[in-house]
């Protein structure tokens, strides 16, 4: 596959239509990064997909790390060896890595190091919309915010320069809209990376013992103080519009885009200060701006971070300027900046009228189409078997403790097998916690990648504390939800051969767990049996439900030129609807009172043909004769 080859081959001056994340990957090459690490997470994942594919040719060392904390530690080590390093993750990943961040801001870095966080305002694919710019203030590190793919690429280079200048790690903050926006990007020259790392014993300490940390802190604050005095006009910050306008705007990131569209639509000519560096806030530029405008409105996503800083500056020197934004309720505190909401928030202040939209407001409720597990997804079979086992053993009130991955979708009907789901690895930690609080049976669901990421310590804890619980490890070979990236359990055949394949069973058994079974979820009988055994046992029992992700299987079968489909024999279908009601593969639907299988959607897994799903054996494999 060479989907991303063009990003490596593109010539300086050439224009490409790039996703924000693709532009960032190109920016990594143009900045001459030597080592890049990540743990995949939407909306940051495509950066890794690109780098994984082209790293070898680009002379870049790339690592899918086991989790974000380790990724950041890896990148930090490269930086200490004098190399340019880049670590990237989704916003909540930075929580996992924050323990590292909070210390490396103190120790400082040697080679330039940039940390990308892809935030998710409005929570398109996340559990919260935390604004990771807070980490900039929290750790005292610079924060850079691009507004489009071109800036994403170009600002990355500046971020490395700032890191180099002050010896500080720099946070590069995108949001879903920036990472997943496509636009035209003009390429620059690729800088070949310097791979001659050396950790010099030059007396500089990176040991955060209290005695050192005490001094590190003062150094850190003086670096940030210096940066706050640099204005970065022309590279990161700029003003546009009428300098004498009564109202001025300060904005950044995607919020700036939405603001500009609203201003242009209503032909409002006011001065806008666009900030590309939001921590430390460029003091002189902001003061200059406050001196020109009686009213300043701050538009940003998600929390009022620039606004707090600007209010502080105004309090100290510009009491006559009135500041507006989220803190006085002009702009909503939650969710991304929606164009319609911003347009109405600003209509009074800017004095334009919004033409009442004649939006189509149909009264009828449309049947929803929530996200579903793919046709042929092995998780569907596992959830089906667990539910059946619980019923057969007459277990009342089981607690389903779920985790982060495609299998989170087990939360939806007909399975409803998720009572709690918080963060990576929480299925086992929370599950084991429940055993201290209640006698209800606990079933934890965790995927292979999540197990490696943060499940192992929780499992150690559960065993060590004699919890009684069933842990179902849903192993589909890859990190499926983010686009099938490899993890430590991925078979070598599916990787570039640069990593090794670790055995989940060996890890589990090494903890002294005796009740460990591996099943193929496509075989419902075996899976059901193993789950019932696990539920009957004392202590921690583990079922590894192993079957490749259906999309991988699709790709493999297509290559092998094989195509299997199933169909319903109408005469045998009794319209009991067990399959649609309790198994709910998206390829199954009801038409004219009978179940049918859409041959385009059917993945040929055959699970629905097993008697647990179709007791009347009305579903059969399609042969040429049919």
């Amino acid at each position: 596959m060479s989907a991303y080859q063009g990003l490596l081959n593109g010539k300086p001056g050439e224009k490409m239509f790039l996703l924000g994340n693709e532009a960032i990957a190109r920016g990594v090459l143009e900045a001459g990064v030597a080592v890049a690490t990540t743990y995949p997470g939407t909306p940051s994942s495509e950066v890794g997909d690109v780098l994984y594919e082209i790293s070898e040719k680009a002379g870049l060392k790339f690592e899918f790390s086991v989790n974000e904390k380790v990724a950041m530690e890896s990148a930090f080590a490269a930086s200490l060896s004098g190399l340019k390093s880049f670590v990237f993750m989704k916003h909540v990943g930075l929580n996992v890595a924050s323990d590292v961040l909070m210390s490396i801001s103190y120790t400082g870095v040697r080679g330039p190091m940039v940390i990308m966080t892809a935030d998710d305002p409005s929570m398109f694919s996340s559990q919260n919309e935390q604004d990771n710019r807070h980490y900039g203030h929290f750790a005292h590190v610079p924060v850079i915010e691009p507004s489009n793919p071109q800036e994403a690429k170009d600002f990355l280079k500046v971020a490395f320069e700032i890191s180099e200048m002050e010896g500080l790690p720099v946070i590069f903050r995108t949001t879903t809209r920036i990472s997943h926006m496509r636009g035209s990007v003009t390429l620059s020259t690729i800088e070949p990376p310097n791979q001659n790392g050396l950790f010099p014993k030059d007396g500089r300490s990176f040991v955060s013992l209290p005695s050192n940390a005490y001094h590190f802190k003062e150094e850190l604050l003086s670096k940030m103080g210096r940066l706050g005095k640099t204005d970065f006009s022309g590279t990161l910050n700029r003003t546009e519009g009428d300098r004498s306008s009564r109202i001025g705007f300060i904005s950044s990131g995607e919020a700036y885009n939405v603001l500009m569209d609203v201003l242009n639509k209503h032909q409002v000519n006011v001065e806008v200060l666009k900030l590309g560096i939001t921590n430390p806030i460029p003091d002189a530029i902001v003061k200059d701006f406050l001196s020109r405008h009686g009213n300043v409105i701050i538009v940003e996503e998600v929390d009022p971070i620039i606004e707090s800083d600007v209010r502080a500056i105004a309090d100290l020197g510009f009491p006559e300027v009135s500041i507006h934004g989220k803190m006085d309720g002009l702009i909503p505190m939650s969710h991304e900046t929606s164009p319609n909401t911003l347009e109405s928030s600003l209509s009074k202040v800017l004095g334009y009228e919004i033409k009442a939209g004649d939006l189509y407001r149909s009264k009828e409720e449309l049947p929803p189409r929530p996200p579903v597990l793919c046709p042929g997804c092995p998780h569907r079979a596992t959830y089906f078997a667990v539910k059946r086992a619980v019923k057969m053993l007459k277990i009342e009130d089981p607690i389903y403790s779920s985790d982060i991955g495609c299998y989170s979708l087990g939360n939806y009907e007909p399975f409803s097998e998720a009572d709690i789901m918080l963060d990576m690895g929480s299925s086992i930690g929370v599950g084991s916690g429940f055993t201290k609080a209640t006698d209800q049976r606990i079933i934890s669901f965790i995927g292979d990648s999540t197990f490696f990421h943060a499940g192992i310590p929780a499992l150690v804890n559960a065993v060590n504390n004699n919890s009684r619980m069933l842990v179902v490890i849903m192993d589909n070979d890859v990190t499926a939800m983010t686009g099938r990236q490899p993890n430590p359990g991925t078979p070598i055949a599916l990787t570039t051969g640069r990593s090794r394949n670790l055995s989940i069973e060996n890890i589990v058994k090494s903890l002294g767990i005796e009740n460990v079974k591996t099943v193929d979820p496509y075989n419902l009988k075996d899976t059901l049996g193993a789950i019932m055994d696990g539920l009957r046992a004392d202590g921690v029992s583990v079922v590894v439900a192993r079957r490749e992700c259906a999309i991988l299987r699709d790709n493999r079968m297509r290559k092998e030129g094989e195509e299997v489909k199933y169909h319903v024999i109408p005469e045998k279908c009794s319209s009991c609807f067990n399959c649609v009601e309790n198994f709910a593969c998206p390829a199954l639907s009801v038409s004219n009172g009978k179940v049918t299988i859409d041959p385009v959607l059917c993945d040929g897994c055959g699970v629905c043909s097993q008697p647990y799903v179709c007791p009347f054996r009305a579903i059969e494999v399609t042969t040429n004769e049919n």
Binding site: Y360, P367, E413
Partner: protein, 202 residues
């Protein structure tokens, strides 16, 4: 020129590919283009929308009420997406249904296609085509998105030239898939040129 195009469908139907081809064709014509794709939780089978904005915009999302044309790969998803469009705006839609699991679980059937068509055509300028059948007849149902694109071009409602679309298709597909997609484009075009507003196209 400023045009906001909203694409809607189900994950796996090639909605993003459609957006890429339209965007790059417009770019080739010298236009500024932004496209926004949202990757939700599901790899396949969920609702998908893609916003394409041609012209001097900053933000990649189309404000509600400012959609100029909606291109729908699936009737229910088209209707759902139209909550963002102003009444009277243009809609092209492929009529092949994909039953959402939320219905099947309750043994309910897909709403009557004719009802969906008439409720949309009562409020919008709608043209429909059975793009999936065209693609299937050509030998690959996956070319339905390109048949629909041809249809949309044929109506004259898209501000891009057929030639630049052809060139993008050549860059996107190869060999057999290219051949089928080109035929799908031509057949769609043909139907689009003769299609009437508010009628079913068979």
């Amino acid at each position: 020129m400023r045009t906001n195009i909203l694409l809607a469908g189900v994950g796996g139907q090639g909605v993003i590919t459609l957006g890429m081809i339209i965007s790059q064709a417009a770019m080739e014509q010298g236009e500024k283009v932004l496209m926004s794709e949202i990757h939700g939780l599901a790899q396949r089978g969920g609702s998908v929308t893609v916003d394409v904005r041609i012209g001097d915009f900053h933000a990649p999302i189309i404000p509600d009420g400012e959609v100029d044309i909606t291109i729908g790969m699936e009737p229910l998803e088209t209707k759902r997406a139209l909550a963002r469009a102003s009444m009277g705006s243009r809609v092209v839609m492929s009529t092949e249904k994909m039953v959402p699991v939320s219905l099947s679980i309750r043994h309910e059937e897909y709403p009557d296609l004719q009802d969906i068509v008439s409720s949309i055509s009562g409020n919008f300028r709608l043209r429909t085509i059975d793009a999936v059948s065209i693609a299937e007849n050509l030998g690959n149902y996956k070319a339905a998105n390109i048949a629909l694109l041809g249809f949309a071009l044929g109506t004259g409602w898209l501000p891009i030239s057929v030639d630049s679309v052809r060139r993008q298709i050549e860059k996107t597909f190869s060999k057999k898939a290219l051949e089928i997609n080109m035929k799908a484009l031509e057949e769609g075009l043909e139907r689009g040129r003769s299609a009437q507003v508010e009628t079913m196209e068979h």
